[in-house]
């Protein structure tokens, strides 16, 4: 039995339902306010810019929900903590990659069909930045509830503060708008992007490691 894969499939089916709602609502709002009867400034040139922040917040929220509800039930079904955690990470990777790709495809289609706005350049770095950024947010949210389940109220407070520090740092680091990128990064846009993504990936690896350490021997409550 491939328990990692089964855990990932079960969680992903939930994630995709939620992400479907998110993208549907975002597209509807974008269509009404950008192209529709009420043209107002939505905080960006393209759908990519518009969806960036909501996708980030969404991933934080589903990370919080998943950390609290999608670990213990699988251990109760006889899956080891290690496989359950691996399944959670696969599901997190899948949803964040799908979100980043779908947002990019919609944005590219907008640019191609309507000729409006443009895609952030270089586009591959922009997609990668979005992916790493929302993955970090997901894991930060996941860590908060997993910390609560493992260590109780005090643990949750420590984990909230840690998650907050990580998200603030990653927000500064992973910014698709070059003008507001941290000044310590090199001047060339591509270099800045690559270094930011590399640093973001290291941060992500740290979060994944913390998650594993937190859940490695997590007792499963039965009442």
């Amino acid at each position: 039995m491939n328990n990692k894969g089964n855990v990932a499939k079960e969680i992903s089916s939930m994630h995709f339902q939620w992400a479907g709602w998110l993208l549907g609502i975002l597209l509807m709002i974008y269509a009404i306010f950008k192209w529709g009867i009420l043209p107002i400034y939505l905080g960006g040139e393209t759908f990519f810019h518009f969806a960036y922040e909501p996708a980030r917040i969404f991933s934080l929220v589903i990370g919080i929900i998943s950390g609290g509800t999608m670990f213990s039930p699988f251990v109760r079904l006889g899956t080891t903590r290690k496989s359950t955690y691996a399944g959670n990470i696969i599901a997190a990777f899948t949803i964040t990659a799908c979100l980043a790709i779908t947002i990019s495809i919609i944005s590219a289609a907008e640019s191609f069909l309507l000729g409006s706005g443009g895609f952030p350049e270089p586009w591959a770095l922009a997609i990668l930045t979005l992916f790493v950024h929302i993955f970090i947010n997901y894991m930060a949210g996941w860590m908060i509830t997993a910390g609560y389940l493992r260590f109780g109220g005090i643990g949750m407070t420590v984990f909230i503060l840690t998650a907050l520090a990580i998200t603030i740092f990653s927000d500064g680091l992973l910014n698709i708008d070059a003008d507001t990128s941290p000044s310590f990064l090199p001047d060339t846009l591509a270099y800045r992007g690559i270094i930011a993504i590399f640093a973001g990936s290291v941060l992500l690896a740290v979060l994944i490691w913390i998650g594993r350490r937190t859940t490695a021997h997590m007792p499963i409550k039965i009442k």
Partner: protein, 294 residues
């Protein structure tokens, strides 16, 4: 695969309180065990460590010689059902069955559907909309249909009404005959379930105070009825329980297996010896006061 369970000097401590103290148990596979204890005796903790829901503070647990904790194969072969809170569960029993099948190698959907029909459970209704009793039924259906080589029920049936519990007991015996495996049934509904148990384990204040076949366990206690002075004379040197008076006669529970000589002595004193039930034994062994460890 061998599913004999062995526990050696298992201790579990929660902060300062000791939930389990030096548990030594060997439970050969393919038997129905009754784990009996009062509230807070440590039954759920014992079952939790067995199902790898937590690690013991000290001691060793093995199943077929291997440590089940974080063991991919062994963990999927242990099903632990208990009274769950389904207040936020939006899935139906059918959806839960589908999900369980992915993780339980021997899950039998046909049998699960049969049980749903037998218990009269609405298969499509969200779990959170079912009554407490219906939720308990859903838990036991999944537990039974999982057909795990080690199947544990921790009072998961206590929310069910008497007719539903009766069906559950019948299904345990029927399914055990078809698919022999280890059942561990934790309960304090002793009189209702004693006919199911091949062996019983009494747990009291975190310690195993009795582990025996049900037939032998019952022989450990006897009621003695007769004139007060004769009863007292016969009881000398034996563990006595509460005494009940009926005019000049009294009835006392003796935690003692009467020998032929004891029986002869009782007859001489005009005493009547009547066998005790498992529940009587449980009540007297776990009453407040000094523990009657056997």
């Amino acid at each position: 695969m061998n599913f004999d369970i062995s526990m050696e000097e298992v201790n579990v401590t929660y902060r300062k309180s000791e939930a389990l103290k030096d548990i030594d148990l060997i439970l050969p596979a393919a038997k129905i065990y009754g784990l009996i204890g009062r509230n807070g005796a440590g039954k759920s903790t014992l079952l939790s460590v067995l199902a790898s829901f937590r690690r013991p503070t000290s001691g060793n647990i093995t199943i077929g010689g291997a440590d089940p904790y974080e063991n991919e194969i062994l963990m999927s072969h242990i099903s632990f059902s208990y009274e769950k809170d389904y207040s936020e569960e939006t899935r139906s029993i059918r959806a839960m069955m589908k999900s369980t099948k992915k993780f339980r190698p021997y899950f039998d959907t046909t049998y699960a559907e049969e049980l749903v029909e037998r218990f009269g459970l609405p298969a499509k209704k969200p779990m959170k909309k079912l009554s407490k009793g219906m939720q308990s039924i859903a838990t036991v259906i999944i537990g039974l249909a999982s057909r795990a080589p080690i199947t544990i029920f921790d009072e998961s049936y206590s929310g069910m009404d008497a007719p539903a519990r009766e069906i559950f007991y019948e299904e345990i015996l029927k399914d055990f005959e078809r698919h022999p495996r280890t059942f561990i049934l934790s309960t304090h509904l002793v009189s209702e379930m004693d006919h199911l148990f091949e062996e019983v384990i009494f747990l009291h204040e975190g310690k195993v105070i009795l582990r025996d076949s049900t037939d032998h366990a019952i022989e450990r206690g006897v009621f003695v009825t007769g004139r007060k002075e004769n009863v007292h004379q016969w009881m000398e040197g034996k563990h006595a329980g509460e005494e009940k008076r009926y005019g000049p006669t009294v009835t006392t529970f003796a935690l003692h297996t009467p020998s032929q000589e004891d029986k002869k002595h009782a007859a001489q004193l005009g005493l009547e010896l009547s066998s005790a039930s498992l529940q009587d034994l449980f009540i007297h062994m776990t009453k407040e006061g000094p523990s009657h460890e056997q």
